[in-house]
Symmetry: C2
């Protein structure tokens, strides 16, 4: 991986930062956030402005360019990658380390007095704008919205915004019709006494209307906004996608509906002016509900006194709790996904010793096996196929420059997943195709203990996921090891592989309490820079637990693994496990054998079945 | 407990709320917060205004009186007590319950349009003022500061503000001179580019000057403020306390010092005008540092552009990290405290079966034994001496109406502590003087497992205490049990028994990371309403840990118990403990036997020594 040369680009950006064509007054700094206008984590190529200007294409990072400096803030997952991808024009700001300044503090330290700091108001979330603006103002500077995106002005070969066909999902997949979702949303709006709700997140629009798209790679979403009133529904979406008869029927665009379910389709680009019109027509006490992460531009369209902002929208919360149809779909998707991985691992065990399998070949092979499964749509994120030292790069993606050949001497880490029409998967397995060292087994076993501690945890109703994060670390901590990422994230149902409002991370506090039907990942790890990476990840479903005393009828919860892929027993130091942990592994493998075995049998995949049987032999303590 | 009759008092208060003598314009509501002008948790009798007007004297609660209504907000600990202590004029607002309105929402619902809501600006913290003022303003009302405290105008027999003599602490207790503390503070001020620091919390004033007082029961503090400049020190304190030669010498008031260590002594009541003078004299970029919990009155004295507010002050953070002298003092205090408790428990074992020992007698006896120890000053909080169902009332304090006799049939819970000149203690032990039931032992053992899980936890440097909270609950959760309080709080060194900025609680997120030298409590519990309460509490010191891999030189921490009082083995179901947990108990008891045994021997307390030996017999697994 050689860094992107950005000298010329930065020169051009610094010119437009002063050009009266684009800015009313010159800006002394320009902020390039990660996201798009919907604050998406995964973005379309036309929105990869931060990667364009810096070369760093990880999923999280903010660039700030001043007349003298160019700096990039990113987190522990990306320190190595960012350092590799950026040239010497850039300073890497390692977030989470004690001595790293915040963006605001850094700006204050480098800017001349009375500076203007520019940012695209459609790209920056309102809450970030507020924090940054306040900090800058108190130091005598100003945060100013720059209407035209300055990166776009210098990005001559910027790709077009995608506008791909839509997929309609019927009740057998979604469990609830879009009309019933609108009814439930309006009842939440009535509870909070708001008249309008603005849907800004792409996965929330997709979920609400039971539609999917493919405008963004890996995330089955499409570019759209929606504004829901008590009697009106406005969908802002471009292209000829609404001419598809299946979509028209699904949305009942041509039937004479009750007027409160009549969808008005409007151009994507008209959201701001339409919202401004809504804002201008409000009477006192009439409120508009927005996520506090909606863009500054849309938030400002509603006068302050009329805004009702919350960190999580009612759609975000409803979407997180999967209904029976969605849960069953997720189970089916995970069974198919496990079949594909059994095929892959069986194939790898035969091929790796030949020395011909690279990280890219392995990733492609995983995709090939997945694509053979029913209702496969695409991958759910870029496959992390990494061997040896590459495994220590937490969000590694193999490219020709880094592509390493799998061998019997190195640990192989595969973190991958797919979108099926019935569900989304995300699984990590760490394998050794030769003989692991005692130290590698020791580290793997601590990670496994952490994985089990979360997966088997029992906790009262109302517990927030962040309170479980330390369970995943305890065994590692005892030996002086740790990992610099959270333990789990919410997972969508044929939607984004990362979704709110719940998760398992020491970094959040404002997560919503876990409840039955939520789906999260459980993925502790351990990474040794320059040597190897270990991670064990299952997607797990929150389910009611049975306990002796049941929390005085408050009820209790635990997790059921949806992922059913063997955990390599060769990597386990059995003597480090407790009896309870050994039983957990054996029970888990028994279930893999039964459920995935039956499906392999049904699909006539006999060799993979033999591999599964061999990999799910019970652990026995040997001393 | 009969309620206080408040009809006449409320009538008088409503009169002064309209009297031009006290208010510029009539106020339609008056807020009576819990605290004093220093936002203390424990307050002097003259500051118990909320208790005076309502009768409710719990440690937390806010009263609001309007022309028609009188309402009291308090939390779950005090629902019963508040209901008993208040008459029918009052509505109890149960905080934490879903349907309870916030103070702001309630005010908006009952006030006529355009109302004024009054509050004493010295009593309300600036952050609360801001929140309340914003909410009221957005509903068309105004929060207004009322200079004269309206409760004081009708409180004819209000006690005087205490003004007791000061205690000076020399270097052998404090480890650092007040001059060196000022130097360190000024260096923190320089780092943040502030010119002035205002010390508003009583324990911060006491700590900074190495002085102690007894103006507030249980907390060895005195009423004072301080304002520290880069070259000036102003101490605002009343009475003839500065005429004491020992204090004059300690503060070097009469020596010709370097001018930057010359303390100007000023009247307590002149803080506001002096601070206003400081505020008026500031040039641009000159800042004044205050806690964001300082009173609205003092915060407003500094123009907004010149304020630098932080949730934790540099004194709060420095005070939390105990130096070697303080740590040694805490160790000594805990040894003496353990001696007193061994005497007490030995005495209880003999006396309880006679049926003559009540909760109050036991509490008094505990104080008697403590007072025999060197440098004993007073208790560190009101002793929680509770047997049977009283144990389930988490903040119980025995009074004649509730006083229960200890028996061989009920669990006894004693949560108590003392102030010694060398340290502060806080310890809870739960005992049975007959034969506990299997269920009582089971619950006790889960609580013990949680206590050990925290006490023996190893975690990397930089970990916040709230991440350890779930460790204390895991064993309880597995069986469907939990407790509704945090697991630990910071403990002062001959200072407040509750102090920030660290702790171990699921309720906080903004706590400062734990570091070596901090001292916290470890006190999980379990409470069965109407039956019993169990809590096991040690005060523990954060110390460096030795681990196999040492977190890549990031370093690791663990806890060392300072409390060395036997944990009743009769209450333990040994078969529920792991080998590691049994070893922890046995090692802990071995240390109690050695350290406390030696001190009991030295003090010639042979009977208590025999009791200690018997109570620290190693646990043996029996199946």
């Amino acid at each position: 991986m050689s860094p992107k040369i950005t000298t010329e680009l930065l020169k051009q950006l610094r010119q437009v930062m002063k050009s009266p064509k684009y800015v009313q007054e010159p800006v002394q700094a320009y902020i390039v956030p990660s996201g798009d206008a919907h604050q998406s984590e995964y973005i379309a190529p036309c929105d990869c402005r931060r990667a364009f200007i810096s070369g760093f294409d990880g999923s999280a990072g903010t660039a700030i360019v001043t007349e003298q400096h160019a700096a990039m803030w990113t987190d522990g997952r990306y320190f190595l990658q960012a350092a590799h991808q950026m040239d010497n024009n850039w300073t890497l700001m390692k977030m989470g380390l004690k001595d790293t300044p915040t963006q605001e503090d850094w700006l204050v330290s480098v800017l001349p007095e009375g500076s203007k700091v520019g940012v695209d108001p459609f790209i920056i979330p309102a809450d970030q704008w507020k924090r940054m603006s306040k900090a800058l103002r108190s130091a005598g500077h100003d945060l100013v919205p720059v209407k035209e995106n300055l990166i776009d002005t210098i990005w001559t070969d910027c790709p077009q915004r995608p506008c791909k066909p839509l997929i309609t999902l019927d009740l057998s997949y979604t469990g609830v019709s879009w009309r019933d979702k609108i009814v439930a949303l309006r009842s939440k709006m009535a509870e909070r006494k708001v008249l309008w709700f603005v849907v800004t997140a792409l996965d929330e629009v997709a979920w609400l209307f039971n539609l999917r798209g493919s405008d963004v790679e890996y995330n089955p979403v499409f570019f759209a906004y929606a504004v829901i009133g008590m009697n009106t529904i406005r969908l802002f979406i471009d292209g000829d996608r609404m001419t598809d008869p299946a979509v028209r029927e699904h949305l009942q665009l041509d039937s004479t509906l009750d007027p409160e379910f009549k969808i008005q389709v409007m151009p994507y680009g008209s959201i701001l002016s339409e919202l401004q019109a809504v804002g201008a027509g409000l009477s006192p006490k009439e409120k508009v509900w927005l996520s506090d992460k909606a863009s500054y531009a849309l938030t400002e369209a509603i006068p302050k006194a009329y805004r009702y902002l919350t960190p999580y929208t009612p759609i975000c919360i409803a979407k997180a709790v999967k209904n029976a149809s969605e849960t069953e779909g997720m189970r089916r998707a995970h069974i198919k996904d496990a079949v594909a991985l059994c095929e892959l691992f069986n194939w790898l065990e035969k091929e790796v010793p030949k020395g011909t399998v690279t990280e890219i070949i392995a990733a492609d092979k995983a995709e090939e096996f997945r694509s053979q499964q029913k209702d496969f749509v695409e991958l759910s994120f870029a496959t992390i196929s990494s061997t040896g030292p590459n495994g220590a790069i937490i969000h590694y993606k193999p490219v020709p420059e880094t592509n390493r050949t799998l061998s019997v001497n190195e640990i192989y880490l595969l973190d991958s997943g797919a979108q099926y029409k019935d569900g989304t998967t995300d699984v990590t397995r760490t394998m050794h195709f030769g003989t692991p060292s005692a130290y590698e087994k020791e580290c793997f076993t601590y990670v496994l203990k952490g994985h089990i501690a979360v997966s088997a945890a029992i906790f009262p109703n109302g517990t927030k996921g962040h309170l479980l994060d330390s369970f995943a670390r305890s065994a590692l901590w005892d030996c002086g090891l740790d990992y610099l990422h959270g333990t789990g994230h919410g997972v969508g149902s044929f939607l984004n592989v990362h979704e709110g409002p719940c998760g398992i991370s020491y970094k959040t506090f404002a997560d919503e309490p876990l409840e039955a039907g939520m789906i999260v990942s459980d993925e502790p790890g351990y990474y040794e820079d320059g040597s190897f990476g270990i991670r064990i990840e299952n997607v797990v479903l929150v389910i009611p637990a049975e306990t002796k005393y049941n929390f005085k009828n408050r009820g209790s919860l635990t997790f059921e693994p949806l992922t059913l892929v063997p955990i390599q027993t060769k990597m386990i130091d059995v003597n480090l496990l407790t009896q309870k942990e050994r039983n957990w592994v054996n029970d888990y493998h028994q279930k893999c054998r039964e459920v995935i075995g039956a499906e392999l049998e049904r699909q006539g995949r006999h060799e993979a079945l033999r591999w599964l049987i061999q990999e799910t032999e019970p652990l026995i303590r040997v001393q």
